[in-house]
Subunit: 573 residues, 2 copies
């Protein structure tokens, strides 16, 4: 039996990711590669974060009466106005978040951090916040990379962050029906640790897995590295309990299928704390796999590799798809081979001999019973070979699996070395995938070069669907004087290219602050009006996570009351 129980790690350090002592520093070869690729004179450690003592947090605005009331509600131990606690909840883990806090700016820290222990606690907090006009930001692992947990006041008197860490229990297990109900504050490794002795797994492994929570997965519609096999978070959830300012709400059905009207669960999924607080959820779990089988294949180009994945998904025998299915473009593959040491150098040389001079590397992980996994793998091999693939053995996928959660550590070191690094993602149908890839990649490179610097972008597919695939872009550039502006410039160019390509503004990072301006392209003006009405019904005073997901109604957009009488206009022509 394979164990999925990944390592528990401490909550993230204030200036970056996880426990820095677990980070593996960049090798000299990697530094040389950076210098060459980015044309930087230096990639030394010249941009460290400020000293912790120098971070400016500022004072909270809560009056004593409110604090007293909160302490009575939750107990003194679960209401914190401590500077460090507030600093640790002053944002998520986007590159802009890190650039700000590394520079010592935590001025937007919440006025207090609350640690509710139950549905009732949450309900009482919301009642108080409605009454006192305080904004509420729900905080799971705090790993948002799109500004989803920024403690914004909006038009209100103050802002409280609800850290859900105490609500981390397995509430119910139904082995016969393969479902489990968890409190929403449980983190990824704890989910697996609870299920493993029962013989089950959730199989949800986003890169943020070690920090992120179930509630965060659902509130952002996250997808994990094995979601091609196990499904996205929005595929595996059956129901959720939500505390809203308008009262408690149960969405979803415990029935396996229903035709009882619109599915309100799908209104809560992706709502990013703007409608209420998800306090618990029931998910479908799967038997722990008995076996994992690793594979790597090389393709003559990214397009050829993508075509192979499409065929594997569409023409492969039902259920043969690997659980993990990733394809790097030729840039990312070159970096992997360059930085992987002797073994990968041998692979690269071998591929050169087989006339794949700039190959695209695909990594696979099949899970299941040993014999049938082997059979699926053999059947897949026929398709991959016919599509021009060359098998490379299990090593590259094993290496990927070992480092699968360590990417964010790398960013911390890169920033310290004066290298801007950011990621963004989209998804497109198979017929639009290559044009989307080309357009977005080009937009990123152009924007990186806009101030005369040079940049680098690498891309991979990490989720494969019958009708298309995701695209994940990682870009690097020498950090300019105003890193925030530099990052925003590139992000904006990439987002514009995504919208123009008709792809989605986010495949799994969520909307937050960063993608909110693109929601009208994504769902149309009337779609936004529907979202606003839903919010009004559950959060009439607008205390829930202001500024996220739903862009402020602008002068051009009709006021809510007028939307209905406006003459119909074509949306998304």
């Amino acid at each position: 039996m394979v164990t999925q129980n990944t390592e528990e790690i401490p909550r993230s350090v204030w200036y970056g990711w996880g426990d820095p002592s677990r980070a593996r520093p960049l090798t000299e070869g990697a530094l040389e590669y950076l210098r060459t690729t980015l044309g930087l004179h230096s990639v030394d450690l010249s941009h460290p974060p400020v000293d912790f003592a120098e971070v400016h947090v500022g004072e909270g605005h809560l009056d004593g009466e409110v604090l007293e009331e909160l302490r009575e509600l939750l107990g003194d131990a679960h209401v914190s106005t401590d500077q460090t606690e507030r600093l640790l909840h002053s944002g998520g883990k986007s590159t802009p978040d890190l650039l700000r806090i590394r520079a010592g700016d935590a001025r937007q820290a919440p006025d207090a951090v609350l640690f509710p222990g139950s549905e009732t606690d949450v309900r009482r907090i919301l009642e108080l916040c409605v009454r006192r006009r305080l904004a509420v930001v729900t905080f799971g692992g705090g790993t948002s990379v799109v500004g989803g947990v920024e403690p914004l006041h909006g038009q209100l008197e103050g802002v409280l962050t609800l850290d859900m860490r105490r609500m981390d229990k397995l509430l119910k297990f139904d082995g016969l029906s393969c479902t489990a109900t968890f409190e929403a504050g449980i983190r990824g490794p704890a989910i697996e640790a609870a299920l493993e002795p029962l013989g089950f797994t959730l199989g949800h492994f986003p890169q943020s897995h070690q920090e992120a929570t179930l509630g965060g997965y659902l509130a952002t519609r996250s997808a994990g590295q094995a979601s091609t096999g196990y499904g996205r978070s929005d595929d595996v959830v059956k129901s959720a309990h939500v505390e809203t300012p308008a009262g408690p709400l149960d969405v979803g059905s415990l029935a396996p299928g229903t035709a009882a009207g619109p599915k309100l669960l799908d209104v809560i999924l992706g709502s990013e704390g703007t409608l209420g607080v998800i306090t618990s959820a029931t998910v479908v779990i799967q038997p722990l796999p008995q076996h994992k089988s690793h594979g790597a294949w090389s393709f003559p180009s990214f397009a050829a590799g993508a075509e192979a994945l499409r065929k594997l998904r569409q023409e492969g025998v039902r259920g043969d798809m690997p659980h993990v299915c990733r394809l790097s473009d030729t840039d990312q593959t070159a970096a992997t081979f360059k930085l992987g040491g002797t073994k990968t150098a041998v692979l690269a040389a071998y591929l050169g001999l087989r006339s794949q001079q700039s190959p695209a590397l695909a990594l696979f992980l099949w899970e299941g019973e040993a014999r049938e996994t082997a059979a699926r793998r053999r059947r897949s091999a026929r398709i991959l070979r016919a599509a021009g693939g060359i098998p490379l053995g299990p090593m590259p996928a094993r290496a990927w699996e070992r480092g699968r959660f360590s990417g964010p550590y790398l960013r911390d070191e890169l920033l310290t070395r004066g290298v801007l690094v950011e990621t963004l993602e989209t998804a497109a149908t198979w017929s639009q995938l290559q044009s989307t890839y080309t357009a977005v990649r080009g937009a990123i490179l152009d924007a990186l070069a806009a101030n005369g610097g040079s940049g680098y972008v690498q891309t991979h597919i990490s989720h494969v669907y019958p009708d298309g695939a995701s695209l994940y872009f990682t870009f690097l550039g020498g950090l300019e004087r105003d890193g925030l502006a530099q990052n925003a410039r590139v992000k904006k160019a990439a987002s514009a290219a995504i919208v123009a390509a008709g792809a989605t503004i986010t495949h799994h990072h969520g909307v937050g602050i960063e993608h909110a301006p693109y929601m009208s392209s994504e769902i149309g003006r009337l779609g936004l009006e529907v979202l606003r009405r839903i919010k009004e019904s559950l959060d009439p005073t607008g205390i829930m996570n202001p500024g996220k997901l739903i862009p402020a109604a602008t002068a051009e957009a009709p006021a809510v009351g007028e939307a209905s009488s406006a003459s119909p206009q074509k949306e998304k022509p």
Copy 2:
């Protein structure tokens, strides 16, 4: 290559189903079985529908000016106030619908029937109806069995039915991405006829398939007989265009996966025409199967059979599930064997010898490439045998497949013979399946017997999920003097039992009028308030399909404007 292109049939006869000349009359054996089982003295043809000329349709209420405007909008040919046309749109195909119309009562016929030909037509009709305060009922195949297309006025000046039959084209085909975009009025067989030459199938085969439309599938979240393999209608749809009184709305994403906020597509799915008119939709299609393999297995009891299906779904190799997967309880199996002629009598005798005196019959249909289908079938056989199953060869599943769309014809003859027949359905998790089955079956039998008559109920599972299965009940009883009251009594008892069991009020029939009273149990009071707010945003004057899906706000329920300020109350404890 297997063909899925099922037969086009004429639109249904006014008093019942399809083309009566295609009905196969009940055999003498079946009549004898009915007499014995139901304890009826006579099952002769003593309850025919009234003569067509005697049906009371009544006058329409539209003033000439409105009619003139409509004719200008759509052309004379596409606006009908003809008595026959209005009669044909006076309801759906529920047993109460049939009881009423067979007795000559079509008084609730719409004031006119419109046949829009485009999005623009629909948009203009809605504009006019808002202005003139006219209710709009969207009519696809008109096969609702829950009152979903009853032309109710509500509080408005009149009611128009929009028959979508002219909007039946394939708009776009993307073979690479396996998607197709259809106008919503296309019927089941036409969908398959359009896809077959392209090498694809939608694979959606509800019993109503030959009459029903794509728009109807989506508006009711329908599931088909092969949905265990192909997915429900809400699984396969990617996006939809909706015309609403507040304007056009595009929901869903053409991207294969997205994290861009709540999924408004899932607000439109199941909305049953109460929010707008679905005019087109994009669906994921699948390659036509090369081969079909039929199987039948017998189990010592319904519980043992259900346990076998659970194991097949949960323990079977990924993707091994048959596309069609049905299990009859012992009553339904007995009827099948009794009425199936010599061949099934031999099977029954064989099972008696193998000491399955009252067996439960399971039918399977595997689809795919011939060799891998055979392999899936062999692997499944191991699980089914270990669960106590006895294989019966392909014949019973072939017989089922031949008659798969003919059930509704039977109902017409039964009503003529003075036998009440109705169906209802739910779904439950595996751990609640048997208790739900027992409770609902018992409630139906008790209610059938309440007036001293005897009754009969048979049940089957038709959809198998990882976490549970559907339950489909068919009940029969001697028709009482007030058949409508009799039917309502049994339906009410069954619905109460479903709610008490914590199962869903409908697995695939939808809500309509009949299940609307149970929506507050299903989604809670606050959930209903959210639905009402969504409706307000898209249909502020309430013209869309009044009386369906969303129950009228009662005195106890808060008015919409008050919902938000009400103090939180526990929903669905």
